[in-house]
Symmetry: C2
Subunit: 359 residues, 2 copies
């Protein structure tokens, strides 16, 4: 398949999120998007940029925290000077993506697409094909989301319920509703209907359409975003006025209810690597033990799961199934794939003890 650059299309990459369930790999000073979590030789951020480059060239805008601006520039040396927006503070995804939209509106971007910096996609061509279709629909004024074909009944993702087909765009369908993360049994019912897809948080839309959809809910929010774009020197002052809200609640859900959202199917393998269970599933098959790092640093006897030998020390594991062992220079984590969600409780406990040096 030949992938063509899409004229007038810009990519926005929100690079935030602490990734506390991936502690001690992911730290507040070095969140997961800066790490090579797949053994690909590139960080998740670098992989995201390389996946988007064939579609957008250097029309890429990374929105990240002030603390990570330097690290982002170090990894993405191709970014132009105005390619990074540093948020003065974390104010959730609507502020981050909305500011990018306001800036791109002024720069004359026709369509923008928002793609998180810490997702993993196995099939870049399939991704490019879906994005190309999404841009075509977005040009017609729709808010377009890419709906991932589910491969199992996950309780870790939100879902998109598909509605009627969209005339003029062969694979597009209306979005009947966005639904929150379900229980596994509810997710199984979703899959049985064939009407549900995973919500990967990928939105493709004209910047003005996005800002106007937001204005329909919160005119002040859109006005402030446009004010910042008009006078960037007022960023620090105006930023703190923006509500903390996710783009899903601020725009996507109300717009779906108003019949303004469509979805394009994504058949590529996708994961957001929410925790070590997800990472283990991504890296290996169920029987063997995945090693993220130098396998010569491990000695595994009757072990399955995932081992990260990240300190140069030898890691020996004997007789444990579905185990998670993450070794870093100053902290070690031992848990199981089934309990991987609880790693965030370790981070919370360490924070309470004042061990911010480890967070």
């Amino acid at each position: 398949m030949v992938i063509d650059e899409i004229p007038g299309f810009w990519a926005v990459v929100p690079a935030g999120g602490a990734g506390t369930r991936l502690w001690p790999l992911s730290r507040s000073g070095s969140p997961k998007f800066l790490h090579d979590l797949t053994g690909a030789g590139q960080s998740l951020l670098e992989q995201t940029q390389r996946r988007l480059a064939p579609l957008v060239g250097d029309r890429l805008l990374v929105v990240t925290g002030e603390a990570h601006r330097a690290a982002v520039r170090e990894q993405l040396t191709m970014l132009p000077p105005d390619g990074v927006i540093a948020e003065p503070s974390a104010r959730d995804s609507m502020a981050a993506i909305g500011l990018a939209a306001a800036l791109l509106e002024r720069r004359g971007a026709e369509v923008m697409g928002s793609f998180a910096a810490d997702h993993v996609i196995a099939d870049p061509d399939g991704f490019a094909a879906a994005v190309t279709e999404a841009v075509a629909a977005a040009r017609d004024g729709w808010l377009v989301t890419i709906g991932i074909q589910p491969t199992f009944a996950s309780s870790a993702f939100g879902y998109i319920r598909e509605g009627e087909p969209l005339p003029g765009h062969p694979s597009a369908r209306m979005v009947a509703a966005f639904v929150e993360k379900p229980s596994v049994s509810v997710a199984e019912e979703y899959l049985a209907t064939g009407e549900y897809r995973w919500n990967a948080g990928m939105f493709v839309v004209r910047p003005t359409v996005l800002l106007d959809l937001l204005a329909a809910q919160d005119p002040e929010f859109t006005a402030t975003l446009r004010a910042i774009a008009a006078e960037p020197e007022r960023l620090a002052e105006l930023w703190e006025r923006l509500p903390r809200i996710a783009i899903d609640h601020a725009v996507a859900e109300p717009a779906a209810a108003a019949g303004r959202v469509v979805t394009i199917p994504g058949g590529f393998r996708w994961d957001d690597i929410g925790d070590f269970d997800s990472l283990a599933g991504l890296l290996g098959d169920d029987d063997a033990c995945s090693v993220l790092g130098d396998r010569a640093l491990t000695q595994l006897i009757g072990a399955s799961g995932i081992v990260v030998p990240g300190s140069g020390r030898t890691v020996a594991v004997v007789g444990l199934d579905d185990v998670v062992v993450v070794d870093t220079p100053d902290a070690l984590l031992v848990t199981t794939r089934a309990r991987a969600q609880e790693v965030k409780n370790v981070v919370a406990a360490l924070k309470e003890r004042g061990r911010t040096d480890l967070l």
Copy 2:
């Protein structure tokens, strides 16, 4: 209870054994007897010396490998210059204890007792009482062993089957037989009879009696030991002629068959810390997670078993029961109490890979 020093009684402490099932705590360069495995603030060797001091004063002879001579002296500063015998090579327990016997025979010791450097005894007074009784029986010419009252059907220890009472020594009984480590089900049968005790390898005997019992099986062995004692400068030359055999097979079993061995009951809690399962059992109750080291270096959520934070790093464990996590500066072990015996396979595998730096 008042413990009296026992005139003419010497303690022999064989300090050997690699302790590979306690890797990575125990290393060939730093075997388990040199470590504080119980959190007592003293190594097992130091604890052994302090347990014996009330009975023998400084009449203590440590038999260890040439490589560990300096470390032994560093820990036991009270030892007189001739208090350490350095074996030119490891030749099993008969050579080690037999050489001590030959040296003590020349020094005029009346009775000697052999007590391993790496055992743990919870009740020093109970131990002293049993040893005092054992010495009294040894003065009458018996080979005396202290038989530990079993607390469960262990398959990790050899057993002593008791015979008839010994007249003149209230709690002493003849040893009908020594039996090898049984299966758990056989051990359960042993316990049901009430006739079996654990063999802790503690032998109390007149040096000359021990050497003569050995001579009855292997006159050359005894002659060589006495030759070394007579001319210590010939140690390196003569040592290599000694057979590699355990004292149990060389002397204790044939002497028991000949009706020359008696046993004194030991009601004190005893363990040889064979592996991390045994260490976990020794340190804690079944529900909680034992920590050998600084508990402030751990963050435990739904964890039981044993954690050894031995590198200064923080160790977090989430949702694992009966786990074993041993953190050292250059190697990390993660296993379960049930699989703790297999840790020796890690050592074997690392040896095969040429990683002697870790052994």
